[in-house]
């Protein structure tokens, strides 16, 4: 559904489990791509943006947090800094989880998504797997997520975070064609950096 995505064939749960083991329990298809790519965003005042050709999208709230430098020093392997950055972003944006129409969650590995969704508060700790099960994040599902294919299928040049923001903006502008989430008005994008060390959360909305 994303003509720019590197991997566009259908992947089943069996395909993932049958792909070779990289670092247990992560199989090859649990790991993001390694590609070339680049992205950028233009940030300006809403007043200035109103005169531009593209529909402006507002930054409603942001948060950043950092918890460690080395993975061995991570305070809790089951919780990321998104717990802090997400709380800040939601508070500053003045919206709740129920207001989010589309989520773009950094996915270096499948586990990164589950940890992030739990840390952002979309579900309780340990419930991330069940939360995304049953095609809920698939096209037409009730929790649209990583609509451009994510780092697992779209691209990952080493810095994928920018693509979470770009896709969130495109969804809110209604530019996504067949993968467009209907009536998307509020989106969340969350990047994770280092070794699950730091997170940046941004909540965007239509003006």
């Amino acid at each position: 559904m994303n003509p720019l995505a590197r991997m566009r064939d259908r992947i089943t749960i069996e395909d993932v489990l049958n792909s070779r083991m990289i670092a247990s329990p992560l199989h090859l298809l649990d790991c993001c791509l390694v590609t070339d790519a680049g992205g950028a965003v233009v940030l300006t005042s809403m007043e200035r943006a109103k005169d531009l050709k593209k529909r402006p999208i507002a930054v409603l709230g942001t948060g950043e947090a950092h918890t460690h430098r080395m993975i061995s020093q991570m305070p809790d392997l089951t919780q990321t800094a998104a717990k802090i950055s997400g709380k800040l972003a939601f508070e500053r944006a003045g919206v709740t989880h129920a207001d989010i129409d589309v989520a773009e969650i950094y996915d270096s590995f499948t586990i990164t998504v589950l940890l992030t969704l739990e840390s952002l508060g979309f579900c309780k700790k340990g419930e991330g797997g069940a939360f995304v099960s049953g095609q809920r994040t698939a096209p037409g599902g009730d929790f649209p997520m990583n609509t451009q294919g994510g780092a697992l299928s779209y691209t990952h040049p080493g810095m994928f975070g920018i693509f979470t923001v770009i896709e969130a903006v495109r969804q809110l502008r209604g530019e996504c064609g067949p993968r467009q989430v209907p009536n998307a008005e509020v989106a969340i994008a969350n990047g994770t950096g280092g070794v699950l060390s730091s997170t940046g959360t941004i909540i965007l909305g239509r003006e």
Partner: protein
Amino acid sequence: MTQIPLPDPYQDTEEYWKAAREHRFIIQKCGDCGQAQFYPRRVCSHCLSSKLEWIEASGKATVYSCSVNYRAGHPGFAEKTPFVLAIVDLAEGPRMMTNIVNCDPESVRIGMAVEVCFDDVTDEVTLPMFQPA
């Protein structure tokens, strides 16, 4: 055979590597707050005191998390796959990243009791590792 990347001891760590060569496992303990830390640093990561002393650790630990690596991230590890990369909770408190060796890699579990052992990689460098206790 490509050598694995080896530590390059410096002021903060040379005491640790010297002990390892003698098959002794030492960690730092703070003379002010009394807490232990790993890896070696110049100040206490708990209270920022510089009154650190070396203590002989018990070598007892519990597996906090582990993964069996099937793909080497460096050519030096190619002949070692599959190997267990783990984070263990030392009995003295600190967490340490290490390998669990001398066992079937797939048999290692979270919560497993392990003990320190030593791998004399070269004449100069010995790596403390862990094995099932």
